[in-house]
């Protein structure tokens, strides 16, 4: 029978195989992670804007000239928010390839130092840190047990900006900005301008009351610290934000908004409002100086230190340059930091970045001296940092959210702050991570036992049954591969789910069913589960009904079926992210989005679509139905083709009408196809992720958080692998249940 295959074909197949093999080999070599003969690299990651690109690249080149043995790589972070920056660095630590030098945002420092990811600074840099003219409070956050873990590269805090012309206009002396709260409130009332309806045209004092929550918190602390408040007690075990200072500060917000009406939600606030002349006074960082110079050079303004209640004090943020403890180039890394903190470089950098050139020498550079305002910033005393505590980002955001909420609702500050403290205090309790056996070891043992068992099996039958040897040889690669990439991960998901496993920590305790308990009590997971179920239900129900109807209609319109099939199939084959981009545009919340255009055309108002909590999930469902409809339609068409014509003929002879034919012939015959479509779509919808990431990122307010999105966030942003695995196991149980149900129904037929 060998003769049945022609000789040329033999050669052709051999050729195809060899070519395929060569392509793979070449690609494997070309894409290998190890590239011999390269210079060692010093990787530097700093979140910077367009201005800074040129600056840091020049620093790198200059440094390379001084140290030709090294290749300095400035790693650019594209897109993404502030938090994505640190998360990507933490992921690099997980990968064992952290950048040698990184500038880490204050809110993350505790996490980095706590997990032992940073290298203590050498003595000379510690001495330098000590002489830096920044408040002790700012320096202190870099210390842990006598070691400092970095050098401050930039810092920022707030001062009072006030419009001199507005001051003169209402008879206030522009040379005497307010110095305490009484003056601040008094001036603010005199500066505020209302229209005939009593709406505010010009805010006397603009408070930060919305936007990025940790930022709102930061400006709140200017009042809180000035009222003599401390955020935490001495040993950082209790939050004191509900102290008298906290209540008075928040009451000031409420009073300004609702009693004195010196600020309101109807005016554009902040730097933009100040530049437009809609704001007379506000607290903000030094970047506003450059902002005003660029956008509103005509505004005649002054800068003053924060108004005192007890004392004048501002909340400072700082950005330390740190070196990874795993770095293989530590000495050169510190050397590069020394180069970056030379006064002339600090001055240029601060000017680019619009932060305070807090180094006295740097501040003396002409580009700053010409701005008197910068000098006022440097005179601010009592700049205090948010202490380094666990869950710092979370706590900062919680405080900011509470301030925003109280400002919006005008509710009682005391009760709101008490409730806030009750939520923060548990986060401050540091539980010692107990050492226990590594869960990966257990998965490894299980895998090993399985492999040994199978190997023994093969060895026994290898001798007894020579016929089977060929089979063993052919499946060997698959077995090895499946053991590593399928069995081990599945087993590992299960074992990890019983541990509090974090790849960045050295100790990972066994916690039994703790993760599952967390899952069923965590509002985020429950919401994700509910959303996924709702999404799956509607996508599958509507998707099946629509694609079945389409298939029924199309099945009868035989002439042009190819054209229709192609049209409806196009979304199925297109790239999902491309489709997401298109739908993001269709769903734009303003009048330029297609759906709003249609609504406007019908005389209706704009709808927020993806930003509307009630509609967002529906938007995802619509898009998913659109994307998959053609696919299910094809399956139904195949099912319809398989129904023998004679059934219909017989029915027609019996005088059945169309509905009866559908009800008694089509539907029963299609039952297996429908079951198949419903089950496969259910399983697929349970795994929805790309649409969520692309369109909504789980928002607004978790309205579109799905299980897989939750797994992704918990696993790759919080690094709680145990918890994420528990969620994955729950998902497996659900999917397994659906599959089991399908098999049962299919068998019962």
């Amino acid at each position: 029978m060998n003769s049945g295959i022609r000789r040329e074909e033999k050669i052709q197949f051999r050729r195809t195989l060899i070519v395929g093999l060569l392509i793979v080999l070449a690609l494997v070599v070309l894409t290998a992670p190890i590239r011999p003969g390269e210079k060692p690299k010093l990787r530097v990651r700093i979140m910077y804007n367009e201005y800074q690109t040129e600056f840091f690249n020049r620093m790198a080149l200059e440094f390379e000239e001084m140290h030709p043995e090294i290749d300095v790589v400035i790693e650019r972070v594209t897109g993404g928010s502030w938090t994505d920056f640190e998360i990507s660095i933490l992921n690099d630590y997980w990968n064992g390839t952290p950048p040698d030098v990184a500038r880490i945002n204050e809110g993350w420092l505790n996490r980095f130092i706590g997990a032992g990811l940073l290298e203590p600074a050498p003595d000379d840099l510690v001495d330098y840190l000590e002489t830096q003219p920044v408040s002790d409070s700012l320096k202190q956050v870099l210390y842990r047990d006598d070691d400092a873990y970095g050098v401050i590269h930039a810092a920022t805090w707030q001062n009072l900006y006030y419009n001199r012309d507005h001051f003169s206009e209402v008879g206030l002396d522009p040379e005497h900005p307010p110095e305490n709260w009484d003056e601040l409130l008094d001036y603010a009332q005199r500066l505020t301008v209302y229209d005939d309806d009593g709406d505010i045209l010009r805010a006397g004092l603009s408070l930060r009351k919305s936007g990025y929550a940790p930022g709102t918190g930061m400006k709140f602390f200017d009042f809180f610290f000035s009222a003599g408040g401390e955020i935490f007690n001495e040993d950082l075990s209790n939050c004191l934000i509900n102290s008298d200072a906290g209540v008075r500060s928040l009451q000031l917000y409420v009073d300004c908004l609702y009693e004195y009406r010196v600020d309101g939600f109807e005016v554009v606030g902040d730097a933009e409002g100040f530049a437009n002349g809609n704001v007379s006074m506000f607290y903000r960082g030094p970047w506003v100086i450059n902002y005003l110079a660029e956008n509103a050079p005509d505004v005649n303004y002054g800068v003053a230190n924060i108004c005192a209640d007890e004392i004048s004090s501002s909340n400072g943020g700082y950005y330390p340059l740190c070196v990874a403890s795993e770095s293989s180039q530590k000495d050169l890394a510190w050397e590069f930091i020394r180069y970056l903190i030379r006064p002339e470089h600090l001055a240029e950098h601060a000017r680019n970045e619009k932060s305070v050139p807090f180094d006295i020498e740097a501040a003396a550079y002409p580009e700053f001296a010409e701005y008197e305002a910068f000098m006022t910033f440097l005179q601010q005393e009592n700049v205090k940092a948010f202490p380094t505590v666990p869950h710092q980002n979370e706590i900062q955001a919680m405080i900011g959210e509470t301030v925003e909420r109280v400002a919006r609702s005008g509710e009682d500050p005391t009760a709101a702050l008490d409730a806030l403290v009750a939520r923060i205090d548990p986060l401050l309790q540091v539980t010692e991570r107990k050492e226990s056996i590594n869960p990966k070891l257990i998965s490894g043992y299980i895998l090993g036992l399985l492999l040994i068992g199978f190997l023994a099996y093969v060895v026994v039958w290898w001798r007894r049954d020579p016929q089977g040897r060929n089979g063993y040889v052919l499946i060997a690669p698959m077995l090895i591969y499946f053991a590593i990439f399928f069995i081990y991960p599945i087993v590992s998901s299960l074992t990890l789910s019983f541990w509090d496993y974090n790849p960045l920590e050295s100790a990972n305790p066994f916690i039994g069913l703790g993760n599952y308990k967390d899952c069923i009590t965590d509002a985020g997971f429950l919401k994700a589960f509910k959303n996924t179920a709702v999404y799956a239900f509607w996508t599958v129900l509507l998707g099946t009904v629509i694609s079945l109807s389409l298939a029924l209609v199309m099945n009868r319109a035989l002439e042009a079926i190819g054209l229709y099939r192609t049209l409806y199939f196009i979304p199925v084959v297109t790239s999902i992210m491309g489709a997401v981009l298109v739908w993001k545009y269709l769903y734009l919340p303003d009048s330029t989005g297609l759906f709003n255009m249609i609504l406007n055309g019908l005389g209706a108002d704009n709808v927020l679509w993806l930003q509307d909590e009630k509609l967002a999930l529906g938007c995802l469902i619509t898009m998913s139905i659109w994307k998959n409809m053609g696919f299910n339609m094809i399956i139904f068409l195949a099912g319809l083709k398989a129904i023998p014509d004679m059934y219909y003929e017989a029915a027609a002879i019996d005088g059945a009408n169309e509905w009866q034919k559908f009800r008694f012939i089509t539907l029963p015959s299609l039952r297996p196809t429908i079951l198949f479509v419903v089950v496969t779509s259910l399983i697929a919808t349970f795994q929805v992720f790309t649409q969520v990431v692309g369109l909504t990122e789980g928002g607004p307010n978790n309205a579109t958080r799905t299980i897989v999105y939750h797994i992704y966030e918990v696993g790759f942003k919080d690094f709680q692998l145990g918890y994420a695995s528990a969620a994955a196991v729950i998902m497996l149980v659900v999917v397994g249940f659906i599959t089991w149900l399908q098999m049962r129904i299919a068998r019962d037929r």
Partner: protein, 290 residues
């Protein structure tokens, strides 16, 4: 007109006209529906050629671009590493699909045609892994790949996708339909297992191979989750992950976003239109998964 409608012989002329009208209505509905379905893409392409004011200012709105702005695409390619994304996607697709097809074929062949002890267990393993969603393996796989330091590396993206249980299942099913007598005849002619596979089995598997090649191409090209987690540097990003940047808050403009979407969508669409029969057949087979 459907053949089964002709069976009913005694139709009045009125009914016949009614039926004709109904057919026309069906066609109009189907065509309208089809146009609505592809309208987002039409909209995308039209927008990709507009200027920014034409899109952001509703007063300037026209359905068709006033002048077709090809510069949108040149600036897209010069400002973003789109070409790199493309090359990477091709590398990932080749690196994944060639081994995937090869191993699926030999394993499927062995499972269908080679009698060996424990075959039932291996078959069970294939079916069991077929049911488990990728997301269940996601966390341990990432921990493993990161443990090897393969984040932001080509190998890290490709390694977990070298074999698919679905491919093995597909090839095993196809091999089962090959008569044993063919293989035995080849054996008599002195072919060893390898030769049997290459010269007897493979030629018969060409339809399966074509279908599976299309499926694995669609899967690798459209793969997002794993690439999104493993790659964060643009120089290693596949197209799907690369254009995700345009969906973020920081995208430059709607026009650029649509140009990027067009660049991502149109080539695959062209391939599909050129070989739609094979695509639809292949994708229908992939529905068997799960």
């Amino acid at each position: 007109m459907d053949k089964r409608d002709d069976i009913v012989r005694d139709v009045s002329p009125k009914q016949l006209i009614l039926r004709k009208v109904w057919t026309v209505v069906q066609h109009v509905l189907l065509l309208l529906g089809g146009l609505i379905v592809i309208f987002p893409f039409v909209w995308m392409i039209l927008t990709a050629f507009k200027t920014n004011p034409e899109v952001t200012d509703i007063a300037e709105f026209h359905l068709l671009p006033q002048t077709w702005q090809w510069e949108n695409f040149t600036s897209l390619f010069s400002q973003h590493p789109m070409a790199t994304y493309y090359v990477n996607s091709i590398i990932y697709t080749l690196l994944r699909s060639i081994p995937s097809i090869f191993f699926a074929a030999i394993t499927g062949f062995a499972l269908a045609k080679m009698p060996f002890r424990g075959r039932g267990m291996v078959w069970f393993l294939v079916l069991a892994t077929l049911i488990v969603p990728f997301q269940v393996r996601l966390i341990p796989l990432a921990d493993m790949i990161f443990g090897w330091g393969l984040r932001n590396e080509y190998w890290g993206v490709v390694l977990p996708g070298l074999m698919e249980p679905f491919g093995i299942f597909l090839f095993a099913q196809a091999c089962k339909s090959i008569p044993n007598s063919l293989l035995e005849a080849a054996k008599m002619d002195g072919c060893n297992v390898w030769q049997q596979f290459v010269y007897v089995v493979m030629p018969l598997l060409i339809p399966t191979l074509a279908a599976y090649a299309i499926i694995i191409f669609m899967w690798s090209w459209g793969e997002f989750l794993w690439g999104f987690i493993v790659v964060t540097t643009p120089d290693k990003m596949p197209l799907e992950v690369g254009i995700k940047g345009f969906a973020g808050e920081h995208y430059t403009s709607v026009v650029q976003m649509m140009a990027a979407a067009t660049v991502a969508v149109v080539p695959v669409l062209a391939v599909f239109l050129a070989m739609q029969r094979q695509f639809i057949k292949g994708m229908t087979l992939s529905g068997l998964k799960g």
